[in-house]
């Protein structure tokens, strides 16, 4: 089995098993998990808080 074929299978599998089932639900849930719950960052501590907010405002949910 080629590398690419395996990648496609993985994506297909994930789409079948997780995306359909939990897609909308998890997106909504994580939206309500606000940025203040974040406990880890990269070592420079860079965070795009404003962008995160903008993303949430712009999301169709």
């Amino acid at each position: 089995m080629s590398k690419n074929k395996e990648k496609v299978d993985r994506r297909k599998f994930l789409k079948m098993s997780a995306v359909g089932a939990a897609g909308g639900a998890a997106v909504i849930a994580s939206k309500s998990v606000s940025a203040d719950t974040k406990s880890f960052s990269n070592k420079t501590g860079y965070r795009e808080t404003e962008l995160v907010k903008t993303y949430y405002l712009s999301t169709r949910f």
């Binding site: 089995m1 590398k3 395996e6 990648k7 299978d9 993985r10 994506r11 599998f13 994930l14 789409k15 098993s17 997780a18 995306v19 359909g20 089932a21 939990a22 897609g23 909308g24 639900a25 998890a26 997106v27 909504i28 849930a29 994580s30 939206k31 309500s32 998990v33 606000s34 940025a35 203040d36 719950t37 974040k38 406990s39 880890f40 960052s41 990269n42 070592k43 420079t44 501590g45 860079y46 795009e48 962008l51 995160v52 903008t54 993303y55």
Partner: protein, 203 residues
Amino acid sequence: MHNLKNDNSISEEDKIRSDMYCFLAGVLQREPSDDLVRGYNDLKGDKSDIGKAFSVLSDLSKKVSSNDIRNEYQNLFIGVGRGELLPFGSFYITGFLHDKPLASIRRDLNAMGIKRGDDFKEPEDHIACLCEIMSGMITGEYGKYFSVPEQRSFFKKHIQPWAEHFFTDLEGAKSAIFYSPVGTIGKLFIKIEEEAFSMDASR
């Protein structure tokens, strides 16, 4: 939890995976605020097992008061002396808190350039921490996108050995009402991740 730039550049299934991890991290990290509980009101699932568990969680978030949910969190994870469950990898793997598995996570996080903030006091082998890290690895939160083999390596070492066991315990815990479907969702999702990682043989 995501930034704009990253959300445009990861695939749909990776977005869902990171949202799932993010959801699990958020629900297990601490006692939920009223806002967080309200956020679960709108959850909808399809007819799959994970979907059904999300629907149950949504119903419970409307029926059970936030205070009762916070009490349940206390009984499950904090307790008097200790809660019903100890959501730490080290405990599940070796039977002891703060043991070698925690040291191993700290070493790996350091090598990955990930550092923790000061506002969450639990050790890094807490299930919520591990879920948050998986989510951030996928979305590029830590300054780079971690490849599937890198994600798999972290998952296999630090999550796979115990997380399904923990979520199964949570699903059936005596004190669990609201958190029981969380256990179901976690258990099923970890199984999906395990299977998906086993499919991708590219290194």
